[in-house]
Symmetry: C2
Subunit: 177 residues, 2 copies
């Protein structure tokens, strides 16, 4: 569909664009879209099958969420490299294997953020390199505990729920078949 | 945590706020947050157990996604009323029952959007009342087909994946136990 586009705000982590479309009925329709460089989320699986989540203070909500480690793509950065970097920065873990799990869009009504999910294994603990303003701590849970935390509503972060439920429903079943 | 807040953009569907925090180490840290009124997503279950999804053209991605019906809260609107309204507008279905499923945050790194998921049953077909600019058509799938579409990557909308996997993993198991 043909569209006119105009950037109306730039910030350090996203911009806002006004998109005007010519509809099939001849009318025009404008809406503002938040443009985002894309991001990764990492499901770090320890040797005993437990998962490393993080407790992460979120400025947007003024509360701490229980999430998987994640981060935003830098310009030109391949998602798998971003995943290795963010896993190390946020949790301290280096990994021997980083495998793609699935990918999805976070809120396509207003936001073009494309999320790439990975499974990290062969983990080696180390020192995190958290950015200023990141208030983060690791939280190791069994898969049964993560599922209970999703079911009870303790986990409220959409990308974390997608990655964990996709992993338990499709990845583990696939690996064991 | 104490914070200074300043609105730097208003659009018809969201605004952008700059939040400046005083960190425990005495430094300040600013970031821009997309403020959103919150939204609902509806999982409409037909009498035979199949699900009504929609094919929805998304301006943000310039592509059609396979999603559950959803919509944004109007000022002061209770989520359950919004769910009944959006189900009717987008799919044509009225429902006898609209039950809360779960709730979650779409992209808390930049966006405060809070999503309320519902299960709609006792459905009666009718005429949709789609808004101008909404290019939508219904798509009825069995639960097995929706799971295959998530697994294959055909479903790429995060809220739709959360609602469907939460439903199949926790709701159906709960109802049948």
């Amino acid at each position: 569909m043909s569209a006119m586009k105009e950037t109306i705000l730039k910030t350090s982590r996203f911009s806002v664009e006004r998109v005007t479309h010519l509809l099939p009925n001849g009318h025009t329709h404008s809406r503002e879209i938040v443009r985002h460089p894309g991001a990764v989320i990492i499901l770090p699986v320890l040797a005993d099958g437990s998962v490393c989540l993080i407790r992460n203070y979120r400025v947007s909500l003024d509360q701490e969420l229980l999430e998987l480690p994640a981060g935003t793509l830098e310009a030109g950065e391949p998602p798998v490299e971003c995943a290795v970097r963010e896993l190390k920065e946020e949790t301290g873990y280096s990994c021997g294997k980083m495998e793609p799990l699935c990918d999805f869009f976070m809120s396509p009504g207003i936001l073009d953020e494309h999320m790439h999910a990975f499974v990290a294994t062969e983990l080696r603990p180390g020192e995190p390199a958290r950015e200023e303003g990141e208030l983060i701590s690791n939280s190791i849970l069994s898969m049964a505990e993560t599922e209970a935390a999703i079911r009870s509503g303790e986990v409220k972060d959409a990308k974390t729920i997608v990655a964990l439920l996709y992993f338990s429903q499709f990845w583990i079943a696939n690996k064991s078949s």
